[in-house]
């Protein structure tokens, strides 16, 4: 291996081994110092943006002043304007997530346990999964109307496949010995599911949970953007319609914060349910 090649492989090759454990120590910062640096970076980027927009270097029409964006956010929040929209979007996302995850889990478990069904349905599932989901939005609008159900259906198609494929893989990759051992100890098919397959698949399902929650919200917002009468996506589309870029950025910012909070909650739940897993040394 050339010197360049080995240097390139450095970070991944050093995942285990004592060198890796020692190396980051040199550049390691305390949590507080890291947070301060991150804050500094934020201030620097936003400040540069603000100044260059004020100086006319970037066009304020396309890149509105950060101070104006935050003011719009504040107006949306303090006047209560954004909350009904947010509530509609959340309803759509939650319904899409619940239905998508439930059907994905159920079908994943059934197909993983019944080999015949898996072989029968596999090509069809692959076909639907290959379809770029956004093209479904217009047909769902026609089928389900401008209300929340067209967005729920759209989010469902995004969430379902992620949960389904992860469940299928999770159940199929269960250690053979764990299954045989439980069977020898007298487990019925139902008990196998409860004590072995579901907990084992849970790691896979959780690794997909972050993505599928995000997709549920994406589905709702994109659906609203394409045609709706309420929701954050609708509010963004309205702002765009009157060339109110501040409103577009404000909608983006609010969504970002909401998704961050949801992700934090999912993390909490994950850490609780997967507490039996060894803590990674990193």
């Amino acid at each position: 291996m050339t010197l360049l090649g080995s240097r390139k492989n450095g970070p991944s090759a050093a995942q285990d081994g004592s060198v890796a454990r020692r190396r980051p120590r040199g550049g390691e910062m305390s949590a507080l110092a890291m947070r301060s640096t991150q804050l500094l970076l934020t201030v620097a980027v936003l400040g540069a943006w603000e100044l260059s927009a004020r100086a006319g270097i970037v066009d304020e029409f396309f890149f509105p002043l950060p101070s104006d964006i935050f003011q719009t956010v504040w107006v949306w929040v303090s006047s209560g304007f954004v909350f009904p929209h947010l509530w509609v979007t959340m309803q759509e996302a939650i319904l899409a997530f619940l239905v998508g995850a439930a059907v994905g889990l159920l079908l994943g478990f059934v197909l993983a346990r019944v080999r015949f069904l898996e072989r029968l349905l596999d090509p069809f599932l692959q076909m639907f999964n290959a379809l770029p989901r956004v093209v479904l939005a217009p047909i769902f609008l026609l089928w389900f109307g401008l209300g929340i159900w067209s967005k729920v259906a759209f989010g469902f198609t995004l969430v379902f496949f992620i949960v389904f494929f992860n469940t299928l893989e999770g159940v199929k990759s269960v250690d053979r010995v764990l299954v045989d051992n439980a069977r020898m100890l007298g487990a019925s098919e139902k008990q196998l599911l409860r004590h072995v397959f579901i907990p084992s698949a849970l790691t896979w399902i959780f690794s997909s949970l972050h993505i599928s929650v995000g997709f549920a919200i994406t589905g709702a917002v994109v659906g609203e953007y394409l045609g709706a009468s309420a929701g954050v996506g609708y509010a963004i589309a309205q702002a765009q319609g009157v060339f109110d870029t501040k409103g577009v950025f404000a909608g983006m910012f609010i969504l970002m914060i909401v998704v961050l909070i949801i992700d934090l909650l999912v993390n909490r739940l994950e850490r609780h349910l997967l507490r039996w897993r060894p803590v990674r040394s990193s």
Binding site: D175, V177, L178, D180, N181, A182, R183, M184, L185, G186, A187, S188, Q191, H195, V196, P199, S200, L202, W276, R277, P278
Partner: protein, 280 residues
């Protein structure tokens, strides 16, 4: 305690008659793992199966457990044909069988809770077993927090708590270091001596087989291996496993059985060499 005296020879704990097991290979052919196996294990008797690598030892155990159906031949347990898993047997696997998402005590309780015993009762019984295997202070740990030896002890408690009549053990200690292994063998013998259970123990280690067993069965070289010899081990019990290798009886038996096993081991070795030659 000599189990042979109380054994009712008409009902064996495990009885394999003319069992052959073949598997389809990916190439569309059939691979005969074991051929025409006859094995009788009396209740309360400790029988070891020793054979070279690839001689189908685990296949035999899986047939006795009901995890595999023989392609031909019959499997009986206490006179009853085995269909589905053998309800009178527990299995100790070579690999780690503990559920990583359950604590030690929940893992040990598993067989009882699945049989419908209440959680409180199952936990009380599990605590007794954890004390017996020296793990009473580790009840609330998860498996990944235990050492290899401790996980084996948990697995022993898990297999024994359901009070099976038969214990099927597939090289249960092969992953342990030599010292831990000897300690575990000693503990296994102590548990077994007061239990009257039949044990079918698989190992490739002849020393271990002779030290533990009443009978050592030798399998021939695979594929299509079959039983080529059976030896009664009449070293008196209780045995002290730490010194047993110096016992003159042990030495004589070891020499005799190794003389037979050696032939099969070298056959396996030659086949492996020949196959390597073909590939090259």
């Amino acid at each position: 305690m000599m189990p042979a005296a109380q054994a009712d020879t008409s009902t064996y704990a495990v009885e394999l008659t003319g069992c052959t097991k073949q598997f389809p290979t990916p190439g569309g052919e059939t691979y005969v793992a074991v051929r025409d196996i006859n094995l009788k294990v009396e209740p309360g008797r400790f029988v070891s199966i020793v054979g070279p690598t690839g001689s189908g030892k685990s296949t035999i155990l899986n047939m006795a457990a009901g995890l595999l159906d023989p392609s031909s031949g019959g499997v009986k347990s206490f006179g009853q044909p085995v269909s589905g898993v053998n309800r009178r047997a527990s299995y100790m696997f070579q690999q780690d069988p503990l559920l990583p998402w359950k604590t030690v005590i929940d893992n040990v309780s598993l067989g009882l809770t699945m049989a419908g015993v209440s959680k409180a009762e199952a936990h009380a019984e599990s605590r007794r077993w954890l004390e017996k295997v020296g793990l009473k202070n580790f009840a609330d740990r998860y498996p990944h927090q235990l050492s290899g030896g401790m996980r084996k002890r948990t697995a022993i408690a898990q297999a024994w708590i359901v009070n099976p009549d038969i214990l099927l053990m597939d090289e249960p200690f092969s992953a342990l270091d030599v010292q831990t292994r000897q300690i575990m063998e000693n503990e296994l013998l102590q548990l077994w001596q007061e239990s009257g259970k039949a044990v079918v123990f698989i190992t490739h280690d002849l020393d271990e087989a002779i030290a533990l067993s009443d009978e050592v069965v030798i399998l021939g070289a695979g594929p299509g291996s079959t039983v080529v010899g059976s030896y009664t081990i009449d070293i008196p019990r209780p045995r002290d496993l730490l010194d047993i290798r110096d016992d003159p009886k042990f030495v004589t038996l070891h020499r005799e059985i190794w003389g037979r096993l050696k032939i099969e081991v070298s056959k396996t070795y030659e086949t492996a060499l020949a196959e390597e030659g073909e590939v090259a």
